[in-house]
Structure formats: C-alpha cells, structure tokens
C-alpha cells in the first residue's frame, strides 16, 4: 500500500465513524438539553450549590452566570498554578510566576489552551489533573451551554428565558463530556498513553541517564481533544509518544476533536425542528475544512518548501509514524475546531500548509469550530448571510422563522467585528515594539507570521502556535491573555444578547418570499460570506506573512 491510499483510507474511515454517530449522538445531545428529568447525582449537585434547576434565566441572568462562573474559574485555577508547590504530587516544582499563571489560567478557562510553558518541566500532577483538566471539561461545557442558549433563542417563541446555565453546565459535563472522555482515556491507554503518578529515571543504553516522564496523561488527553481544548500534558503535545502513541490513537484523537462540533449541527437541526438546516450548515463547514485538508496535504506531501525539497520530504517537525498525511490532517482539524492540539510542528510546515492552518483559524473557528463556539459562530455568519441576501432582493431577512431586525443585526455586527479587531490590534501593538523582532524564532516573513499566528490563535481561542516565537515576556503573557479573554467573552455576551432578543420574538410564517436556508444554495452563500469577511479582514496580514513566503 502506498502513502496516498493509506492517507485517503484513513480519511474515509474517519468520515465513516463520524457519519455513524452523527444522528444518534446529535439527537442524544438534543435530549440532554431538552429533557425535564434530572439524574439523582445532578439533583444532589443542585442542592449543594443552591440552585433550583426548574427555574429559568433571562439572557441577562444567563450572561451573568457565564461571566461569574468563568471569573471564579480563572481565580481558582490561577491560585492552583502559582501555589502548586503546596499541593501533593508537585514533583518538587515551584509555582508559576504570576504572569505565566495568569496567562495559563485565562488560557484554560477560555477553552484556548495556549501554552507559554512546557508541561513536563513546569507542572506537577495535581495542577495538571486538578486544575487544568477540570477546566478542560468546564470550559467546553460553557461553550456548549452558550450554543444551546442561542439555539433555544431560535426554537422558542415569545419567551423571555433561555434555560438555566447551571443545569446546562452540569448536564453537558456529566452526560456528554465525562462518559465519552472516560472511555476515550481507556482506549488511549490501550495504545500506550500513560496514566501513572511518577517519573522514572533509567540508564540509557548509549550511556547516561534519561528521565521517562510520568503523570495522569491519558485522562487529560481524551478530554483535551473531546472538549476542543488542546493543551498538552507534555510540551510536544500530541506529538509526544505518551500522549499519542500510535496511528490508531491518532485516529481516535482526530475523531474526538471533530465529533461534538460536527454532531452539534444535528442537535441544532433537531432542536429547531429542521434537520435539513443542520445538514446545510454541516455542508458549509465540510466544504471549508475539505478545501483546507486538500491544500495542506498537497503542500506537505508534495514537499513544497525549500527545506522539504532539500531533505527529500517535509519531515522537519513531524513524527516518523504519522508522516506527512496524518500530520496534515491533524493540523487542519485542530485549527478548524479551535482545539490547538498538535501532532507536528506547524512552524515548520511548508508556507502553503502553515498558511492554510492559519487561515483556518481566521475563518473565525467555524469549520466546524470549537465545542459550542463553532455552532454559535456559524449561526452568526448564517444571519449575516440572510441579511446580505435580503438586501440583494429587498426583503426582510429571516432565519429559522425569526426576523432579523436592527437589534439582531447590531449584535451580529459587533460579534463579527470583535475578534478580528482584537487580532489586528494585538498584531499591531506587538509589531510596533522593537523587542518583538527578538522574540521571533525565524527571520523574515516567517517571523511576522509567528506574531500573526499567535494573536489569531489566542483571540480565536485555538491555542496552537507557530512555536518558534518566545512568548514568555511580560508583554506577550499579558497581551495574549487579554486577547484570549476578550476573544472568548465579548462574542459570548453578544451571542447571548442576540439569543434573548430572538427568543422574545414570535415566529414568522414561511412565505413564498422567504429565503430557504436549508438548501445547498444557502450553504454556498454561507461559505461565500465567511470567505469574504475573512478575506477583507486579514488579507493584508496574510500578504506580508505566508503569501510573501510562499512566493519567495
């Protein structure tokens, strides 16, 4: 069998697995967020935290819950990280300096998992499992909760309420993330991912000693992919043999990365009573990610760079067993989902391969995007699409039976502008500083790309990096923390405000003048709008970075 057949078969098996679980898993998630019955353990949790699970919240109250919960999460995680030497299993390591602790706490609570530290050299096991992995679950559950609140905005009619955040958070964690993560962790151990509590020093065969790192890596690895978090237990992330030991574990990890974002389109369709709507949105996502897979794989497998041509293959920063095919696929899925886990060094990708994964994030993380964040992101784009289409034919835009009026469009416009503004202001501020060129790990256009990649990744809550850049200075720790924080919560505030205003409306009946939004034509328009917005926003930055590099 040659590499091409192997790569295409892998892709086919992955698509087959996702297709098999799409309907049952998507419908299961819809039931999780619509059933009136509570599990016994959930009732105990609600009693313990003092929440009445039958009460519902307005958009304002739901937003305050999200923000209050996230603020507390950041504070608790920060204290764990800077005070880890007081915890058990600290491996004798000191607490993080405050700048790094703040950056990391914000990073994991915002579902970004940007890492300015190396896991095995910086953190003890209590901080990893009891701090970071907990937020891997909870930040993902927050994303799903916000998405479900927006879907309820479409599904409900003349209602002031969007559900109960605490119920959505607990159910998303206990009914969706925890069981799948548990099974996933065991499967990963079966391939060689480690789950223990001790480092092990060995006498290397060629002389000297080597420390074989230990830790509860498998339990963190499965939720890291499933929750589209991406923060590696080890510095090398999913390239490390203890996180991603075999091609089978690599396939599993790609499946976990994609399964919730993809299946949530079914959840959307089921909850709003139009499964075709879910499919048309999935179609747009699939087209975008399909093009990205094709471009990246073409560039990496074809060795389209100076270094790759010289070496006889684009293997710098790639593992032998994954080769160019599995590294390209993983890179596209991790950047298309706001995961940010990596099984190869994106910094060493060919200009077209690395540029494509960068653009993948610039699309706003909607192909298919992070857990929850992807579906609310693309629904915003869908509203923008019906608005633009409505302007062209002179009709009031509608989506899923809701009129898109001035108020709704205001929220959509603010959402659409916020993340690109954070990215571009961040890049501008960094480039204006003379010290930034010293932080770049590579000369020329590629060094600039590293800065563009950093702020794009942070503000879009992806977390992967062109890792050559040194981001431990106060400026980068704090500016990237701000980008992650604003890039997560400013859009969430607008999404929930939009959800509230949609829920208050009644449903408008479908007429001959309604633009059907469950068709391939609409999916095509949606793709066009996403590409247009991204192109208009980021073309200048791309021209100076990856485009210049590819053409030189």
């Amino acid at each position: 069998m040659n590499d091409t057949v192997s790569g295409l078969l892998t892709l086919a098996v992955l698509i087959g697995l996702l297709a098999a679980v799409y309907a049952p898993f998507g419908d299961y998630m819809a039931r999780v967020f619509t059933t009136p019955s509570h599990w016994r353990i959930e009732k105990r949790i609600y009693r313990l935290i003092g929440v009445n699970p039958e009460s519902e919240q307005t958009a304002r109250s739901y937003t305050l819950s999200v923000l209050g919960f996230s603020l507390v999460s950041i504070i608790v995680l920060y204290l764990i990280l800077v005070g880890q030497s007081l915890l058990p299993y600290d491996r004798g390591l000191p607490g993080m300096p405050w700048q790094m602790g703040l950056n990391t706490a914000v990073s994991f609570v915002t579902n970004t998992n940007w890492q300015s530290y190396g896991g095995e050299s910086t953190l003890g096991f209590a901080a990893q499992a009891g701090g970071l992995a907990v937020q891997n679950f909870l930040s993902a559950a927050v994303g799903v909760a916000v998405a479900v609140a927006l879907i309820r905005g479409f599904a409900r009619s003349r209602s002031g309420e969007l559900g109960n955040f605490w119920v959505d958070l607990v159910r998303g964690t206990l009914r969706i993330l925890l069981p799948v993560a548990f099974v996933g962790a065991i499967l990963l151990i079966s391939q060689g991912a480690i789950q223990n509590f001790g480092d092990h020093t060995v006498h290397a065969l060629s002389g000297g000693t080597q420390v074989i790192p230990g830790g509860p890596a498998a339990s963190q690895e499965s939720i890291k992919e499933l929750g589209t978090n991406g923060g590696g237990f080890f510095n090398a992330n999913s390239a490390h043999p203890f996180e991603n030991p075999t091609p089978i574990s690599n396939l599993l990890e790609m499946f976990f990365i994609l399964v919730i974002p993809i299946s949530l389109t079914r959840t959307l369709g089921t909850m709003v009573g139009s499964r075709k709507q879910g499919l048309s949105i999935l179609g747009a996502m699939t087209f975008l990610i399909g093009v990205a897979v094709a471009l990246t794989t073409w560039a990496e497998v074809g060795a389209h760079s100076q270094a790759a041509r010289l070496a006889g293959g684009a293997m710098e920063g790639k593992e032998t067993q994954f080769g160019t095919w599995l590294s390209s696929m993983f890179a596209v899925f991790t950047t298309g989902t706001s995961t940010g886990a990596v099984n190869a060094s994106h910094d060493s990708f060919t200009p077209v391969g690395g540029g494509t994964v960068l653009v993948n994030m610039m699309l706003g993380e909607v192909s298919p995007g992070g857990v929850g964040a992807g579906i609310y992101g693309i629904l915003i784009m869908a509203i923008l699409t019906v608005f633009i289409a409505g302007l062209m034919v002179g009709r009031t835009p509608e989506l899923l039976g809701k009129k898109i009026g001035r108020q709704e469009m205001t929220y959509v416009a603010l959402y659409t502008l916020s993340v690109p503004a954070i990215v571009l202001v961040g890049i501008g501020a960094a480039i204006a500083r003379s010290s930034t060129s010293g932080a770049m790990g590579n000369p020329g256009g590629h060094g600039f790309s590293e800065v563009v990649y950093a702020f794009t990744s942070a503000a879009n809550n992806n977390g992967s990096a062109f890792g050559g850049i040194t981001v431990t200075s106060d400026f980068f720790q704090l500016s990237l923390a701000a980008a992650m924080l604003l890039g997560r919560f400013v859009p969430i505030v607008f999404v929930l405000a939009l959800a509230g205003s949609l829920a208050r409306q009644g449903k408008v009946p479908v007429t001959a003048g309604t633009l059907p939004t469950h068709t391939p034509l609409f999916a095509g328009l949606l793709v066009g709008v996403i590409l247009l917005i991204t192109g208009l926003t980021f073309f200048p930055a791309l021209a100076l970075g990856p485009l210049a590099e590819a053409l030189s």
Binding site: W166, Q210, A236, A239, F242, I248, P351
Partner: protein, 192 residues
C-alpha cells in the same frame, strides 16, 4: 459591583469546588485504576530493562549519536532526547539555519554510511516534532545495516533479520507509516 453578579459568582465557586472533586480527583483516579489493571505495562510507560537495569521506555527515543557507529541512529532531536523537554526545532521552512543543518546532516550520514546524499531519506536529516521520536523509517534503517554489521562483526544477514523483527507495518494494514523501533533494535543488537 452588581448584586446578582456576586450571587452568581458564589454559585460558580461552589460548583468549581464540586467539579474539582469529581473531574480533578475521582475521574483521573478511576482512569488510573482501570488503566493499571487492564493495561499495566502501557499505563506505566512500557519501561524496558536489560541485565536487571531499566534502560528506557519502548516508545521514547534515545540519543544514539552519529559518532557512535555501533548503534542504529535515531532521528535528529531538537532537545537531544531530553525526557523532560519534548520539543520540535520550530525552524521555518526556509530558515537558513534549517537548510544548513539539513545539508550538514546529509554530509555526515553520506560519509559514515558510504552512500550518496540522494539515497538518504528525509527522516534521517530532519528533527522530529517531539524530540523523542522512537522510530525511523525502514529506508533509514536499511541504510545503516552494512555499517552496524561491520562495526559489530556480525553478518549483514543477521543485522537485516533483526531490523526486520523490529519493523512494524501500517497499523491495521493501512494506518500510519511503516517504522523501525530504534531502542528495541539496539537492545537486540546488544544481546547478540
């Protein structure tokens, strides 16, 4: 600050505590329990020993340097196979330093293996993503057989057979690349 916000934050604090116990303690402990029982060796990192001493992990690469001709060599590593510092080089695709390193490695390998630069596979001259890659391509292993046999006074066919033993094909017949486990191969050589 808004009273409702403070009330919500207090609920948030309670749930973070509850969830830390469930997700941060009970969950990893349960995974640990099942892992230790069902996949004891794998959960503990597949430590291999020889002569009563632990000599490494079967899936973590070690630094067999090009200047030690009696071993099969692994891939270049950005961190010299430091177990506590996994990392790639992060050198960009047209970085002059990377181009220089690749040329230098090609020259070195061409000299010690007595082959032409064009015969050297890409994995031999590029650093891995983890810095701990336990594998090399079968092509790079084949390139080293003659030299290892000569240095160790073994027949070429013996060394070839060993390489064969520690070569694995694509998983399930189609997943990933064929690969040779360098540490296991060298351990077998040491036993000869």
């Amino acid at each position: 600050m808004n009273k409702d916000f403070i009330r919500q934050s207090v609920v948030g604090l309670k749930i973070v505590v509850v969830m830390t116990v469930m997700l941060g303690v009970a969950y990893p402990a349960a995974v640990w329990g099942v892992g230790q029982v069902a996949f004891h060796d794998k959960a503990n990192g597949q430590i291999v020993s020889q002569g009563g001493k632990d000599v490494g992990s079967a899936i973590i690469g070690q630094d067999f340097k090009v200047k030690d001709p009696e071993w099969f060599h692994g891939r270049p590593s950005a961190t010299d196979y430091d177990g506590l510092a996994s990392a790639p080089s992060n050198l960009g695709p047209s970085n002059p330093d990377l181009l220089k390193s690749i040329k230098q490695r090609q020259q070195e390998i061409a000299t010690i293996e007595g082959v032409d630069v064009s015969e050297i596979p890409a994995d031999a001259v590029t650093a891995s993503a983890s810095g701990l890659d336990p594998y090399i391509s079968p092509a790079y292993a084949a390139l080293q057989v003659d030299r290892v046999a000569r240095e160790r006074g073994l027949s070429v066919s013996t060394v070839k057979a060993l390489v064969e033993t520690y070569t694995s094909g694509r998983q399930l017949g189609f997943l990933g690349e064929p690969k040779v486990n360098v540490l296991k191969l060298n351990l077998a050589l040491a036993r000869q």
